[in-house]
Structure formats: structure tokens, C-alpha cells
Amino acid sequence: MKHISILNSPWGNKSSCASALKRLNLNYSIKTAKEALSSSDVLILPGVGNFKYAYNYLLDSYELESICRFVEKGGKIIGICLGMQLLFTHSDEGDSPGINLIAGKVIMLGESNKQVTNIGWNNTFSTTENLNCKYYHTHSYHCVPFDRSIVSHESEFKGTKIVSGVKKDNIIGFQFHPEISSKNGLSLLKDAILL
């Protein structure tokens, strides 16, 4: 049975992720990336947080290095919301570099400099399964991968298509929160972990 680690960090809704994995009857624990290296098959980077703060924490605690080694070793990484954004090269939130496992940038939502936030259950199109499903989004920044072929989910915000999910080999990212998107979300999370 696969062992899943939820990254132990000062930000993030680790508890919601843990509850979701518990409901799915999966074997999980909350660990640092360093601990996950030797004991886990999947590492979840939880959401809810500020990009610059999270990146600096990963850097200062040497977790960044462990995350990269975890992926090199063939472990599966699943980033949720901020966790997905952290996988990218750079974010405008705090003008900070990211882990750079996916080439691309994280930019503000909306066209003007006025901050707007996408909150709610948005119709999300799965490009791989060719179907629509509603998932809960809450974010002020969104990801723009340079390679469009890795986009797995798309949704719309104020008439503009935004990337809601990516999949590149053993790296998966969801801009929305599958762990709090009721049955559909739990089912998606289970597939992402097990398939």
C-alpha cells in the first residue's frame, strides 16, 4: 500500500488534507520532505498560504532540496493551490522564485493591478478525461505553464480561461482544493494518488 506524506509546514490546511486521506482509507502521515524521502511514495504540498513566505520557509529549512530529491527519486508530488504554485519557476506574489519543477510563472488574476480573488465552485474541465466537474477554487494568483501540453484541468474566471491543474510525469498540481470539494474532489484526489 502506498504511503502518503503531507508536508509539515507552518502554512497550509494540513488537517483538511489529512481528513480527506483518512476518509479515503489511505495510509498517510504529516512529515517533513526530508522524512518523506525515505518513507513515502507520494508527497502532498498543501494549500492556503503566501507564496514568498512558503518559499522562504522551504529554502531556509532545506526542505526545498529534499522536495527536489524526492521527485528525482521517482516519488509522486501533488501540489494543492499554493502547493501547485510553488512548483513553478517564479511568482509575482512577493516577486519570489519557486521550486522550478515546472517551467512557468504565477501571475495575478485579472487584468488591472487591482487584486481580485476567485472564490467559489467553478466548472472545471478535465482535458485528459474530457469532462466538466465543479471544484472549489480560492486564489488571487494563477499559474501559467510555458508548456501547455501539461495542462490537465482548465476553468474560467471572468471570461478568461485559467489553468486549474497540471500533470507532468510524477508531478501533479491542482489550483482548486480537491480535499474540500466534497465527493468529486475526494474521488479526484484518490485517482491522483493511486493512478
Binding site: S19, G49, V116, S140, G185
Partner: protein, 240 residues
């Protein structure tokens, strides 16, 4: 349109409905209510702690409730320190709601925006419409602050959402709430606006939606309850 179910709790994590923000009627365990709401297709849940006292027992019970409910959860009431905010987020709360902190503890709001991101911070406003002066004022303690000044303060915090409660419920119930107040609010604040209090019909929700309001928060309206009667939770009564 986001339709948020509000659950009012006391400091020992029991749920109540309140009448005119005074008298409390016990309606059960928040954990059960959250499970029922999820089964009824609820969008989001907001928990308000009217005693504004967050003890370890409260946090533990909140965490236990999150374990059985897979919906977005926000929390408001008595968040005075960054440690309390961290405990709430790590127990599964996804958005923090601040009230009087806008006037007496802006630092905590800014700290939360920096730590958890703007999308995780919300400010609750208590507005009244003064008919004589035709002005909208925000009530904080016994003071009244003009709407423009209040929203200016909100914008400076960098938060992503405001919950607007009109204390003068008659204003909403009689549908006399001037459209220009909501339009003005929409102009002043570019992010998410949630209206709470006095929402009694689907038509009202539709009207807010047309005005660009992002969501409504229903609290006592989701419970069918009278003294000494059973409690029935019906999220869909107003939302379908």
C-alpha cells in the same frame, strides 16, 4: 453566486440560532449540522464564535468536525493573535474572518494576509443605513464610521473578501435597501462581497447577484425552529 451557510457557536462549540443578536436557541452540534449541510449540497460553511473565546477544547472540536465534512470552512470570532490564527488554519479552517480587528488590531489582519495569503482573509462589516442623513455607516463599538472610510481601511489591509451585515434588518426584509448602496459598495471594493442578514427569499438572492454581489450568508434561515420544537436544517429552502 456563493451561498454560504452560517453556524453560530458558543465557546464550548454548541450551535445556536440567535434572535436579534440577543436570545440564543440551541440547535445542536456543529459537527452534525456540517454533515447534514454537506449532504444537502451546501457550497461553503462559516462558523462564528459569538463568545469570541478560542480555547484548546474549541479547536479540538472544530478539528473533529472538519474530519467529517469536506467543504470549505471559514471561521470568525476572537482571533486576536497570530498563534490563534495558525491553530485555526492548521485545524482545517480555510478562511479567517475579522471584525473589530479592523479598528483595534490591524496588525493581526496584515500578518494573516502575509502568512496565509489574501484569499484566506475576510473582514466582516456591520453597516447601518441612516435614513435621515442618507449615509451608510459602519458600526464599531458605539462609534460610527463612514462607509468610504471603512472600505478604504479594508482595502489597505489587502484582504480578499468582506461580509456585509446590515444591522437594520427591516431595510433588507422590506426590500427597501437602496440599490445605490450596494452599487457604491461594488465600486469601492473590487474583490468578493458577501451579504448577510435578513435574507428571506430566493428573489432577494437573485437581485444581489444581478448587482454583482458574489455571495450571501444565510444563518438562522437555514434552520426551521421554534422553542421546544425539533430542529430541521433545510439549506435548499432558499437556495434552489
Amino acid at each position: 453566486m456563493r451561498i454560504i451557510a452560517g453556524i453560530i457557536t458558543d465557546k464550548v462549540f454548541k450551535a445556536y440560532v440567535t434572535k436579534k443578536q440577543q436570545k440564543r436557541y440551541y440547535v445542536g452540534s456543529p459537527s452534525n449540522i456540517m454533515s447534514i449541510l454537506e449532504a444537502q449540497g451546501c457550497n461553503e460553511i462559516s462558523i462564528f464564535n459569538i463568545d469570541s473565546c478560542i480555547g484548546n477544547n474549541y479547536i479540538n472540536q472544530l478539528r473533529a468536525s472538519v474530519e467529517s465534512c469536506f467543504l470549505p470552512l471559514s471561521y470568525g470570532g476572537g482571533i486576536k493573535t497570530i498563534n490563534a490564527a495558525k491553530k485555526l488554519v492548521s485545524s482545517g479552517v480555510e478562511r479567517l474572518i475579522f471584525g473589530s480587528a479592523l479598528f483595534n488590531n490591524k496588525t493581526i489582519i496584515k500578518q494573516c494576509v502575509e502568512l496565509f495569503g489574501a484569499q484566506s482573509v475576510c473582514i466582516s462589516l456591520d453597516l447601518i443605513y441612516d435614513k435621515t442623513s442618507s449615509k451608510v455607516l459602519n458600526r464599531y463599538a458605539n462609534k460610527f464610521v463612514k462607509l468610504d472610510e471603512t472600505i478604504d481601511m479594508v482595502n489597505k489591509t489587502g484582504c480578499s473578501e468582506i461580509i456585509v451585515t446590515f444591522s437594520d434588518h427591516n431595510c433588507l426584509e422590506s426590500s427597501t435597501l437602496p440599490i445605490n448602496i450596494l452599487s457604491k459598495l461594488r465600486d469601492l471594493f473590487s474583490n468578493q462581497i458577501i451579504i448577510a442578514g435578513g435574507i428571506s427569499s430566493h428573489l432577494q438572492i437573485e437581485r444581489y447577484s444581478k448587482l454583482g454581489i458574489n455571495g450571501v450568508l444565510l444563518s438562522s434561515r437555514i434552520y426551521l425552529h421554534r422553542s421546544y420544537d425539533g430542529v430541521c436544517i433545510d439549506y435548499n429552502r432558499l437556495t434552489l
